[in-house]
Amino acid sequence: MILPVQFDQNEWFLIVMIILSYTVVFLMPKRIPWSQFILVMLLSVMIARLSDHLLASPSVDLYDINDTGKYDLFDFVTYLLYAPFSYLFIYFYDRFNIRGIGIVLYIVVCSFLGMLFEMTNALFEVFHYKGWSAVYSFSVYLVSQSITLLLFSYIRTAYHTLLRNQNKKWQGSNL
């Protein structure tokens, strides 16, 4: 993988944010099982990677990430930064038991915060916009956060169904 051209503000910003966000996540009380935790984190990393691959790679090339238009080491680090934010998004959704129209408001507020955080990233030169703008990201966040919530609900239901089936099997074998 390609190394950064210059180790400057964008790399330091990413390192500091990674340390801060993961510290917050691991210090918070655990609300969901490890398997769901891994899936929620992976999901956000996958969505970010996929959208960057489709929107920022050559022939579309709407923005660059970090120092080059190529896939460098700190692009990989950037993806790691999405995971704790995705967990926090799910954590507060679950913690405050958000339901009904509250879900729409929650997604709108989080998308707005996401957009502000992306603008901060752009300020530290993590993103270099060409034909893109942080405002466009707002609609992307609306879609990606809705997908994340939908899939989290699906994952949680599937998890409990599998758990119930295993318990039934276990009880059946003990009879």
């Binding site: 398997s35 899936l39 992976l42 990677r49 790679s57 022939s59 896939y71 998890y159 599998l162």
Partner: protein, 158 residues
């Protein structure tokens, strides 16, 4: 016209994936999908963006077909592999199936090379086969790790 084969293949693969009986549970399949998407978009980016080992055609129609190949066809084929391998009983059948699977994977790439969608530069078929096999093995070990967590939580028996 030929690009239609890629679109049709991807639709057929998606349909087949949802209707076939799977050996991995739904959580394992979501895990596999996320990991494979991340790994393959990174792998292809390194090949044709970072090092120019591959040159992808400039034709819009074929470029979309290539995108479908890297984002849908390849990850789905891998998911078929991981869902089918536990059904095989003997070690020999597993080895034969794995070899056949790597052959199918490379076969897809070979067709795209023959059609001029992918042009190799300082790259050979054996390198593709090697990397496809390395990814196959590495993702399998990641799946085993995730399965272990599910087992500890009492969600999976294996």
């Amino acid at each position: 016209m030929k690009s239609q084969y890629v679109f049709i293949l991807s639709i057929l693969l998606i349909m087949s994936f949802f209707v076939t009986k799977k050996k991995c549970n739904v959580l394992e399949n979501i895990f596999l999908f996320c990991v494979l998407e991340f790994v393959f978009t990174s792998y292809f980016a390194i090949l044709y963006i970072n090092h120019n080992f591959w040159e992808i055609t400039k034709s819009i129609e074929w470029f979309i077909a290539f995108r479908i190949y890297e984002v849908i066809i390849v990850p789905l084929l891998y998911m078929f592999y991981y869902n089918l391998i536990p059904k095989l009983q003997t070690k020999l059948s597993k080895v034969v199936y794995t070899l056949l699977f790597v052959g199918i994977l490379y076969g897809n790439e070979y067709i795209l090379v023959k059609w001029g969608v992918i042009v190799y530069s300082n790259w050979n078929a054996w390198q593709s086969i090697l990397f496809l096999s390395i990814i196959l093995t590495s993702v399998y070990f990641l799946l085993l790790g995730f399965r272990h967590i599910l087992k500890i939580e009492g969600v999976s028996q294996r």
